[in-house]
């Protein structure tokens, strides 16, 4: 089969190139450092060539490589042409960038259809595909802020945020220590643990379970974050008040999920334990707890994002002058919006790592559960 394989992304990218050619130039008149004819032409050639080559009857791996290099090479050249020309990008510039984006999209589609044989190949793809997606969010953001000249204090470009992170590592480190290692971690551990213990207790005492479960269900739907100012009033300015908010926010999801999990073991499994005349503790340890693990991990995951949000918002209502929430609200006031985004990036990174660690542990502990076994 030696015929061409067209893709809508490739075709649209070519059309966009055409539109860009018609609406030249790439930068508005009066740009300080306009495109040289050479680079301009080169960008067009790269995009068009990548699009055309991707139609060729070649293996998908080859097509993906061509698209990857073409899309990102051209995008890089476009972006680097922006320095010194902030706010001067024209419609043609963005059309060309969108063409690159479509090629990258095609590239991701090709990659998604790959079935690598080795485990290494599989995990590489698993990282590469979302990485390309994430990279394009940043590229488009960079182009929108620097190309279209969005004011810095409204939205800074990712490059400025990156630079700010690099320049402020010690401050960011202190903030992470204050907010994550003190408030979040301690609050999370205490909240989850106490939710778990009360759930075990409730499982043993039917009356408690019947009374606590509807209330717990209700409370976990409440806007608990509203108690943040109250907690600051009670427990003072430092991290204990933030930890208290985190404890309350994480307690109920853990309680409700664990109680549900402890009740999740099948009736036949429980009957089996009865036929062995097993004691309550033996049943809890050998049957109910293992069966509850998927539920407990569900709560741990939900709580991992709740905890971070709770601690940061609580810092709005009074803190010592360190911490991620403090920095965010203070630096907005000082118009250092890049610092705000730097904190957000750090928070998102920390949150993702936190979540990832829990998800990996879950895989290891509940290896037997169909949702994990099924991939």
């Amino acid at each position: 089969m030696r015929h061409l394989t067209f893709s809508w992304q490739g075709v649209t990218a070519l059309l966009l190139c055409l539109a860009a050619l018609v609406t030249l130039p790439l930068l508005a008149e009066g740009a300080a450092r306009p495109f040289t004819d050479g680079t301009g032409t080169l960008v067009f050639i790269i995009v068009i060539a990548a699009a055309l080559l991707s139609f060729a009857p070649q293996p998908p791996a080859y097509r993906a490589t061509v698209l990857f290099i073409g899309a990102h090479g051209a995008a890089w050249m476009l972006l680097s042409a922006l320095s010194g020309n902030e706010g001067m990008a024209t419609r043609a510039f963005f059309l060309l960038l969108f063409a690159c984006w479509l090629l990258a999209w095609r590239c991701v589609t090709e990659l998604s259809n790959q079935q690598p044989a080795t485990a290494l190949g599989k995990s590489t793809l698993q990282l590469l595909i979302p990485a390309i997606f994430g990279a394009w969010i940043l590229i488009l953001w960079e182009a929108a802020t620097r190309g279209a000249g969005i004011p810095f204090i409204i939205l800074p470009p990712p490059s400025a945020i990156g630079a700010r992170i690099m320049a402020s590592l010690p401050i960011l480190g202190d903030d992470v220590k204050q907010t994550i290692f003190k408030a979040v971690l301690i609050g999370y551990i205490v909240g989850c643990l106490s939710g778990f213990l009360v759930a075990v207790l409730a499982d043993r005492v039917a009356f408690l379970r019947r009374g606590l479960l509807p209330i717990g269900n209700m409370v976990s739907a409440l806007p608990i974050i509203g108690i943040a100012p109250v907690m600051v009033m009670w427990f003072g300015f430092d991290w204990p008040s933030k930890a208290a908010v985190v404890i309350i926010m994480t307690f109920f999801p853990m309680l409700v999920n664990t109680v549900a999990g402890l009740a999740a073991s099948g009736s036949m499994e429980r009957d089996l334990m009865r036929t062995y005349a097993s004691s309550d503790w033996q049943t809890l340890l050998k049957l109910k707890l293992p069966a509850a693990m998927p539920f407990i991990f569900n709560a741990l995951k939900i709580n991992s994002t709740l905890a971070l949000i709770g601690a940061i918002v609580a810092e709005f209502f009074g803190t010592p002058i360190v911490g991620m929430g403090f920095r965010i609200s203070t630096e907005i006031g000082r118009m250092n919006v890049d610092m705000v985004w730097a904190e957000i990036a750090v928070a998102a990174l920390a949150g993702s790592i936190f979540y990832g660690v829990i998800a990996l542990t879950e895989r290891a502990v509940t290896f037997w559960h169909p949702s994990i076994r099924g991939g």
Partner: protein
């Protein structure tokens, strides 16, 4: 009502609620005592224990207001005020409710749309899913004010989007608050619906194949009905998240109405009773919203042949 409901639900729940109220009273006395002692010693009076307890439960700006103070405040600000007065909690709840519902609506749409894309497109599935999780680790609530302000300005400013939508300033304020709710609520919906749309068993899908059903037919006749229970479960989470978003969106953004602005105003003037009354209003609102979703779930479930519990 079946006698079991009384024994298995009402009695335990009320007992525990009563216990909580009792604990609350004790805590109120203990927490308000130092300030009261301070005050009494400055005024030079020495009340009896009984009087002292009475005073701790009747402070105008207590650290922890007693339940009856909160209840009284809620009563005054709901029943005794005209609905349009800006001191009426009903009015403030309504303001919050409207942006909650709007944000929830957007969130549902966005979540379902993403889920449909993810279920039908491998590339979407593999590139989008990790970022959806990451998106929720951004402390959006921390930058909610910035988001609300910027989007309000965009919506009311001089730009293409604003001209297209042409919203007045109240509508813009509503929409910009609702964006926070949208951000918090789309995630549970997207995740739940991805699960739901993928929940049909292989055999049910094979059955559709043997009928040579079109993808649209498979979607509407199999995937959608199969996903309904998941939809309602995620709706419950989403509406609660939406409410949190709306309240936080009102907190520090100069909103003059809404439960969040009541919390803030109360906190600004140390009017703790007002804060707690606003918290109670928020909780009632959450309770009502979640119950409505629960009720809708029950109705739809029984229409779809759900087995009574």
């Amino acid at each position: 009502m079946k006698p079991d409901t009384l024994k298995n639900k009402i009695i335990p729940v009320t007992t525990i609620l009563l216990a909580l109220v009792a604990i609350w009273y004790v805590a109120a006395v203990l927490m308000n005592a130092p300030f009261q002692r301070d005050r009494d010693s400055r005024a030079g009076v020495t009340p009896t224990t009984f009087e002292f307890i009475g005073k701790t439960l009747a402070q105008p700006k207590p650290i922890l207001p007693a339940p009856h103070q909160v209840a009284q405040n809620v009563y005054e600000n709901t029943v005794l005020r005209s609905l349009s007065s800006n001191r009426s909690l009903v009015y403030h709840s309504w303001v919050t409710l409207s942006s909650t519902l709007l944000g929830f609506g957007f969130g549902m749409l966005l979540g379902i749309l993403l889920a449909v894309l993810i279920v039908h497109n491998r590339a979407m599935d593999r590139s989008l899913m990790p970022w959806l999780v990451a998106s929720q680790t951004i402390p959006i609530l921390a930058i909610a004010p910035m988001i609300v302000i910027i989007s309000y300005n965009v919506l009311t400013g001089d730009n293409a989007l604003a001209h297209l939508l042409n919203l007045d300033s109240d509508a813009s304020r509503l929409v910009s608050k609702a964006l926070i709710s949208t951000y918090l609520s789309f995630f549970p919906v997207a995740v739940g619906m991805v699960k739901g749309l993928r929940s049909p068993e292989i055999m049910h899908l094979d059955l559709m194949r043997t009928y040579y059903a079109s993808p649209m037919q498979t979607f509407w006749k199999l995937r959608v009905p199969a996903s309904i229970p998941f939809l309602f479960t995620s709706m419950k989470v989403a509406i609660a998240a939406s409410l949190v978003g709306a309240i936080v969106g009102e907190l520090p953004t100069g909103a003059t109405a809404g439960i969040g602005s009541k919390l803030l105003a109360g906190s600004y003037y140390s009017q703790t009773i007002d804060i707690w009354a606003a918290l109670v209003a928020g909780s009632l609102l959450a309770g009502i919203l979640v119950s409505i979703v629960g009720l809708a779930a029950k109705i739809v479930d029984s229409a779809m042949g759900g087995r009574p519990a």
